[in-house]
């Protein structure tokens, strides 16, 4: 039973991270389309933001695993 609950928790964390990273990716696409010359900078900022969100999701998954 705990295994199932942990899986649900991990799944919820992934949904959140997916939404977050999806939004970042979409916005970065928009930004690059509008200003292609700033592409490199936008990409770096995008990856950093995505990494931070991923970090939060990973915490949730670790907690789900331990719980």
């Amino acid at each position: 039973m705990t295994g199932t609950l942990a899986a649900i928790g991990a799944g919820l964390a992934v949904i959140g991270a997916g939404l977050g990273i999806g939004r970042i990716g979409g916005s970065a696409m928009d930004a690059i389309a509008r200003q292609p010359e700033a592409g490199g900078k936008i990409q770096t900022a995008m990856i950093i933001a995505a990494a931070l969100i991923e970090g939060a999701a990973l915490f949730a998954i670790v907690v789900a695993m331990m719980g």
């Binding site: 770096t44 990856i47 950093i48 990494a51 991923e54 970090g55 990973l58 915490f59 998954i61």
Partner: protein
């Protein structure tokens, strides 16, 4: 046309490469005995815990996947149909409080044999921890020391310094990196800065990329040079181990960057470098965050201190989780073939494995890049300039 042919050929090749390690599954069970008919009726929960349950008909995906993503004392290659294991033995180095230092090859303790009182542990034991509570401790994959009655010795588990699968591949990657980079350094010394040729043509742009797009924007023009050796080492070490982890045959395929101990060490290095290279501004930011009202500092200081540790923690878990998850997905897809035993599953599964492998190729580069980028970012954040731009 020729392009398409080469694509198909390489896909087939990769598919073949992934089939090879699975041949071991066919005759996996050497403990096959009359009780197997009984065991086959046990539910899947029990099958996960046991070692002997998986009969010829039963395929235990969990056990198979975990065996492949975890470290081990020998390098298992395949098991023939009649139950013979083909494995490359690796050196085992043990220090026991009771009997001192021991060194022997892992083949001596394979298949339940015992050597100098050492054998592979199975199941779990109950131990009393420091708080006086009784806790279960798993012995799977650990080497235990037993006395002549087959009981665990009182001194506990021996300290294990063995050259395991992961250690072996890590040493191999270190040798490759040293060979490549010392060779390149010598060539550059002799030729000077000129048009890069051969391997330099591949490595030089990567180094320049790390310098110009990772180090300089995040650390700053004046200070970045000091950190380039670390950033480049970490980048190429992670990259090479990620890539070698994707090659599924001996001497590659160990899950080195998907090992939490290794990522812990890498993250700790980043943490130490960040803290030791930090300047006054960094500590001011932690203990007296500018622009924050005094009462709020009661909350802010603990948050900032926790923040110092969560950053490397996230680095550690990110690399570990990404690489291990990638391996698990590929292995799960391969497991589908052995669960369903049908060509209609096998073919799509193979296609998916090839697809996942290309994703993994991307992830291998991406994770090495992200680890380096975030390391550079944390180092840069720990020494803020006084003039903000």
């Amino acid at each position: 046309m020729s392009v398409r042919f080469s694509t198909v050929a390489s896909s087939l090749l990769i598919g073949f490469i992934f089939i090879v390690p699975c041949t071991k599954l066919k005759g996996q069970d050497e403990h096959h005995d009359a009780t197997d008919a009984l065991h086959e009726t046990v539910d899947s929960h029990q099958a996960e815990n046991g070692h002997d349950e998986a009969g010829d008909e039963e395929f235990n995906a969990t056990e198979y996947i975990l065996e492949h993503v975890s470290d081990s004392h020998d390098w298992h290659i395949l098991t023939t149909k009649d139950g013979h294991h083909v494995a490359v033995p690796l050196p085992v180095i043990l220090y026991s409080k009771q009997s001192g230092l021991h060194m022997f090859m892992s083949s001596k303790i394979a298949h339940g044999h015992s050597h100098q009182g050492f054998q592979m542990g199975h199941g779990s034991i109950e131990i009393v921890n420091k708080k006086g509570e009784r806790v279960e401790k798993s012995l799977d994959g650990k080497i235990i020391e037993v006395d002549e009655h087959g009981e665990l010795v009182e001194a506990g588990l021996p300290l294990d310094f063995s050259i395991t699968k992961n250690v072996f591949m890590m040493l191999l990657s270190v040798i490759i990196l040293l060979w490549v980079f010392l060779g390149l350094a010598k060539a550059y010394k002799k030729m000077g800065i000129s048009e890069p040729r051969g391997l330099a043509g591949f490595i030089e742009p990567v180094i320049l990329f790390i310098e110009e797009d990772v180090a300089i924007p995040n650390i700053g023009e004046e200070k970045y040079a000091r950190f380039m050796p670390y950033l480049l080492t970490v980048f190429f070490f992670i990259l090479l181990n990620n890539l070698m982890g994707l090659i599924p045959f001996f001497p590659f395929g160990a899950n080195v960057t998907g090992n939490i101990a290794l990522t812990f060490v890498l993250a700790t290095l980043t943490f130490l470098i960040t803290q030791f290279s930090s300047n006054k501004g960094h500590w001011q930011h932690v203990f007296a965050t500018p622009g924050v009202p005094k009462p709020l500092l009661i909350i802010m200081i603990p948050v900032e201190i926790i923040g110092l540790f969560t950053k490397p923690f996230a680095l550690m878990v990110r690399l570990f989780a990404n690489i291990t998850a990638g391996h698990i997905i590929v292995l799960s897809l391969i497991s589908m073939i052995f669960i369903f035993k049908s060509i209609f599953v096998a073919v799509p599964s193979m296609v998916m494995v090839i697809f996942m492998d290309f994703i993994e190729l991307l992830v291998a580069f991406l994770q090495a890049y992200i680890f380096t980028l975030l390391s550079a970012l944390f180092i840069g954040m720990a020494m803020p300039e006084h003039h903000h731009d």
